[in-house]
């Protein structure tokens, strides 16, 4: 049991990075739709740079830089050129994915370094929690730090409040002297950097290596989970662990005799199930249920940041 939970926690780590990054960007009002391509290109960059330099840290930095640049491009196109964020993000999704295939050819199937295992002394001896939470590697611990950090930043600091302000009511925030567009740049790029960490976490930890389309569809799932989690870090994290659990279950079912005929379909099932959960949660009926039972409301429904995807222009 605890080892299964530990596997889920590890499998979900990259998604935590990606979804937290996207949550920050979207809460600031910018949709970074490029996740599926960003993660892929970062995964390729992280692995190949680690392979060339021999340093996992440099690999992670490179991966971070790649996705941060893509995010900066989206912010620039949206804020400066007033282009549609969805359009630019979509094109970058496909472009980054193809670039990863092209540039990564030489590294397919190469055996490289990965993030070393590092159990945390003392904490790992705690029964149950020790195995589940503290018997991993730095990439997984980092996901805890990012999750808690984003939560505290958004809801416990003044800057976090500002961030929510520029996403919800940019005009009001601007009137209070907050540089809306400058901060949108900043948070989109920081969000992109976190998305890059997700890529490196896949190729240097969860999946050990690079092949074409290594992280296919994980970016789309991350985008969906952010909506599912109602832009709240804790609920988003719940979505990530739920998806991680679905993946682990699918993996465990693969050798089951009765499912032999259809075992190849199992890897797709978590995506299908997750999206169905999202669809159900997002049906109007569910929202009305939330309205009728206010106690459940906070848990079940939430609205997107009011200024999301809209260009802010000072009058």
């Amino acid at each position: 049991m605890d080892s299964t939970l530990a596997t889920i926690v590890a499998a979900a780590a990259p998604l935590i990075y990606a979804t937290m990054g996207e949550t920050i960007a979207e809460k600031a009002g910018v949709i970074n739709l490029s996740l599926d391509g960003s993660i892929m290109l970062s995964a390729m960059a992280g692995f190949s740079i680690t392979y060339v330099t021999g340093s996992v840290i440099v690999g992670f930095l490179a991966a971070t830089a790649v996705s941060a640049i893509i995010a900066a491009l989206i912010a620039f196109a949206s804020i400066e050129l007033k282009l549609n964020q969805i359009a630019v993000g979509f094109v970058l999704t496909l472009l980054a994915a193809k670039l990863s295939s092209f540039l990564g050819t030489a590294y397919v199937g190469v055996k490289g370094t990965h993030v070393p295992h590092l159990a945390i002394p003392l904490l790992e001896d705690i029964p149950f929690f020790g195995t589940v939470l503290f018997d991993h590697n730095l990439s997984v611990y980092g996901s805890f730090v990012v999750l808690i950090g984003v939560y505290l930043f958004l809801y416990r600091t003044r800057r976090g409040l500002e961030l929510q302000g520029i996403g919800e009511r940019p005009e009001a925030a601007f009137a209070r002297g907050i540089p809306v567009n400058k901060l949108r740049y900043l948070y989109t790029v920081i969000g992109g950097a976190l998305v890059g960490l997700a890529g490196a976490a896949y190729s240097l930890d969860v999946k050990f290596g690079w092949r074409e389309n290594l992280t296919l569809n994980f970016g789309w799932i991350a985008l969906a989970i952010v909506i599912f989690g109602g832009w709240h870090p804790m609920r988003v994290a719940f979505g990530c662990y739920l998806f991680g659990a679905l993946q682990v279950v699918a993996l465990k079912l693969q050798p089951v005799e009765a499912l032999q005929g259809v075992s190849q379909i199992l890897p797709i099932m978590p995506f299908v199930l997750m999206i169905f959960t999202l669809l159900i949660v997002y049906l109007d009926w569910f929202k009305r249920f939330g309205d009728r039972h206010p106690a459940w409301r906070g848990l079940l429904t939430s609205d997107p940041p009011a200024g999301i995807g809209k260009v802010f222009e000072r009058e």
Partner: protein
Amino acid sequence: MRAAWAKAGSKSIAIVLALLFTALLLLASGASPIESFRLIWQGSVGDGAKLADTLMAWVPLVLAASGLVVTFAAGLWNIGVEGQVVMGAIAAAFVAREFHAAPALIITVALAAGVIGGLLWGLLAGMLRVFGKVNEIFGGLGLDFVATGMVVYLVIGPWKRAGIASTSGTDPFPREAWLPTIGDKLSPIAVILAVLAVVGVYFLMRGTFFGLRLKAVGANAASAHIIGLSTRRYLLTAMAIGGGLAGLGGAVQAIGFQHKLVPAISGGYGFLGILVVLLAGYRAALIAPIAFFFMMISVGSTQLSLRLGLNSSLGGVVQGTLVLLTVLVGGWQAQRARRREPTEVES
């Protein structure tokens, strides 16, 4: 007029930049850009067989892109287009496998089934949006996953190849269900269907009240509602048309090109169609030539992997770069125009 020149200008700047970027990538991977471009040209339109390949890839792309012009006009991001292509292919495959009749009848029914399969899948995403308030991007994405799951399930499950289940595809369909061809591959029916679709969508958007109203709904749903248009009906109709055309593309792909059902039956034509429409500035008139150019790149770049050992995804890189740069340069020019005449309203 000036705007038209600016548009043409931005397109050529983007093309030049995209070519430069591609040349740099090729140089970095140790290949000669000139030689590579020559291989792409020869590999796509160099002889009759290659041209047939390119045209047969052009057909589903044009069909998907034509449908996307309609959904974009309604203001919808039909990311579910991939799933709609797949469902069209599944429906056509079902007919091809299960029906036994005269070839003309099977083919007609299979193509119609493809339209219906894609149409229903598009309508489903539309209904989720209209009645369930599910954003069409994520509803469509979910339906993409479901469609992919379904095709993999069929290929390795109920429709598996006699004896062994393998992801390489089902048994080939009976010969009667194949689209008739000139030469080895080129199916005139498929090409005619694509031309009809793109011309039909052009006139639908340019010359009918429906097209006009659809654009009104897409531009401003609230105002359209106030002047008495049923936004729901227009959104659903747009999704049905978009899905139906994408489904037809899937059907052609199944019975005209692959002649069996494979897991990757969509060929990525749905998403590529979105790029084509973005590059065409959402206008039907430019779909056919841009799609042809895209398929020259895609089909031609397989030569790069055969002859130069490069990864054929270079084609996708070129397409993506071209669209990205066109969009960015277009945005940059619009911004300069805004700065020059700050009062001018963007149209």
